[in-house]
Amino acid sequence: MKSLVDSLVELIRRASTDLPADVEAALQAALGREEPGSVAAGAIETILENVGLARADSTPICQDTGTPVFYVSYPAGQNTIELRRQIEAAVAQATKKALLRPNAVDTLTGRNTGNGLGLGLPVVYFEERAGDQLEVSLLLKGGGSENVGAQYALPSAALSAGRDLDGVRRVVLDGVRRAQGRGCAPAVLGIAIGGDRATGRAHAARQLLRGLDEASSVQELAELEGRLLAECNQLGIGPMGFGGKTTVLGVRIGLLHRHPASYFVTIAYMCWACRRARMSVRRGKVTFTG
């Protein structure tokens, strides 16, 4: 199955070197909102120029190609041990081709493995599906933005945040304020309400696969997504934290059931370089989307 490895390398190339159209459109729209000649406008102009150069040269948009997170849904019966091996081979090849930076550091010794592979890296989620199609989505989750992500346990007395959607709103605003520009704003926020500390984090990151035009199908959540987008942009943090009207490009909220004792709100903070790509394989035919 050499060809699946090749296709996975191509998936990585697309994610690393080309920004999804909806994210680029949101950046263009942001440029229109910022004061012409301001530092904020200059930052977005630089971002857009950089996106164009990376696409033209097929080189990474950002040198931090992040943690590769693969979401694999596979037809019943497919061997996931083999699939994992192929994904690992693709990550090592993409690293060799300078499409990914070697981002696996031994936590004890500080040594870099050099090929992007290590304990728990890359991250791969497997899910069996009906039908005969294999689908792989890839998210390249930047490290600097991951550092400013947050998880809140409600209620929070300090923020007067109770266990309801207004409480969610309050802690998300606080999380974005704490992040300032350090996570490479303007950000895309993946948010999970509910779950435990681990499933909440995973579900929050999964929301980043949704397009900026894909509002939640739950009406209350769709409304909160819109309100948070507007209110985050009133914080005045702006692109790179330079000050300005664009702190967040989009907010995507997902829901999980929770233990009666817990009410977690998890923010997966994604830098403006919201790099995601998807491929599907059916009867040997590979299609790339997004």
Partner: protein
């Protein structure tokens, strides 16, 4: 907001003329250094130098860095590189988050005589004080602008500690031309980051009243 072209070596006068909000294009020789490199600069080179316990190789590197960094610039960056014959090519070269280096940077600035630090996200009060004392500035490159900055890297002159630290953490000595940046911390005690931080805290307070 003024605009300047600055080339390493940068004089104290040039550095002290810079104000928050000014835009610059930086040229000349830069040294990349992030987490592991800063720790090495302070805990191995500077401390070993004062106790006289540096190995021959470390002493040679120390002296080379003293020359490069005096009136020079450190760039917080972990690049993606490609082999180009016997040398290297920088493929993607944006800045990394500077605040992680706050515990080391003030000492590095004064010991090596830097005229600036290039990074993203800004740094804290102690670095701001060191910039004021030394006559240096913090240059903010747009985070993620890696393809754009890579095109301004003309030559990779050397790499230090690549085997020990790995490609992202190693110290790369590069010659650049016209890297665009914004002064967000200056030698007059001003920081755009603290200003935005205060304003956003006030904005949050207003929003939480709704």
């Amino acid at each position: 907001m003024a605009s300047y072209d600055l080339t390493v070596p940068i004089s104290e006068k040039e550095a002290r003329a810079l104000q928050v909000g000014d835009t610059v294009r930086l040229s000349g020789i830069l040294v990349t250094a992030r987490d592991a490199a800063h720790r090495y600069l302070v805990e191995t080179l500077m401390q070993g130098r004062s106790s006289g316990s540096l190995s021959e190789a470390d002493l040679a590197l120390y002296q080379s860095l003293r020359t490069l960094l005096h009136d020079g610039l450190i760039y917080h960056c972990g690049p993606i590189v490609r082999r180009a014959g016997k040398s290297w090519e920088f493929v993607a070269t944006g800045p990394t988050t500077s605040s992680r280096l706050e515990q080391y940077e003030p000492e590095v600035i004064s010991h090596f005589g830097l005229r600036g630090v290039i990074g993203k996200g800004g740094m804290g009060a102690e670095t701001l004080a060191a910039l004021e004392k030394q006559g240096a500035a913090y240059f903010h490159v747009v985070g993620g602008a890696a393809a754009l900055v890579a095109r301004r890297v003309q030559e990779v002159l050397a790499v230090h500690k690549r085997a020990e630290m790995g490609v992202p953490e190693a110290m790369w000595v590069v010659r650049v031309a016209a890297v665009p940046a914004v002064v967000t911390m200056d030698s007059h005690g001003r920081s755009l980051h603290s200003k935005v931080e205060r304003a956003s805290a006030a904005a949050l307070e207003r929003l939480l009243k709704q």
